[in-house]
């Protein structure tokens, strides 16, 4: 038997990008997301970007194969409930799950490719420079090291 979940107050601002915010029991949750995050110093989009497949979106991620047949779980619920006063979650995103209540199976997967493009100090190629692009370029060392 599963326990009862009691929460007096929940506050959530944002649930996005294939995330799940579940109140109540569930049986099975499967959540998948593929993200191509591109940051360019200038506002520029080539139109057909993202149509090709990157290896990170197709390569298999090793998973633990759980063999429940050889596992005997004995649960004794001396207290039938879990109680929480308040939960504040600012954001739930990218295949994440916030679940109040019991479930059987949760399976999530997030694949994120992050690319940053900064203009060189000599400036970008003239054809690709935005009209107002007489900008001073400072390489952000801190974000390079993250």
């Amino acid at each position: 038997m599963k326990r009862l979940s009691m929460v007096q107050l929940v506050h959530n601002e944002l649930t996005s990008f294939s995330a799940v915010f579940q109140i109540g029991d569930s049986k099975e949750i499967t959540s998948r997301v593929k993200v191509l995050a591109v940051q360019r110093q200038q506002e520029l989009f080539f139109g057909n970007e993202g149509e090709v497949t990157f290896p990170i979106f197709t390569n298999p991620i090793p998973r633990l194969a759980i063999d429940t047949t050889s596992l005997q779980i004995n649960k004794l619920n001396e207290s039938p409930a879990i109680s929480v006063r308040t939960i504040r979650v600012l954001a739930i995103a990218f295949s994440a799950v916030v679940h109040i209540g019991s479930t059987s199976t949760i399976d999530t997967e997030a694949r994120i490719k992050h690319t940053r493009q900064l203009a060189s100090n000599s400036g970008a190629e003239p054809a690709l420079v935005a009209p107002q692009a007489s900008i001073r370029i400072i390489k952000d060392e801190s974000s390079c090291l993250q």
């Binding site: 191509l36 520029l44 995103a93």
Partner: protein, 59 residues
């Protein structure tokens, strides 16, 4: 394998989380199986300093 769990009283006060992301799970309750995976790719070549080029699988 035998695995015994005794769930005694569980009372929590205030939980404050900024974000649950990238296939993480925050669960108040019971579950049988939780399987999560996340792949994040930001290799050195993901930072391109120079002309703005279209994205390609090799860089």
């Amino acid at each position: 394998m035998n695995f015994t769990v005794i769930n005694r009283e569980l009372q929590v006060g205030d939980v404050h989380i900024i974000a649950v992301t990238s296939s993480a799970v925050f669960l108040i309750g019971d579950a049988d199986i939780i399987n999560v995976a996340s792949a994040f790719d930001t290799p050195p070549e993901a930072l391109i300093i120079g002309p703005f080029v279209p994205l390609t699988p090799r860089g």
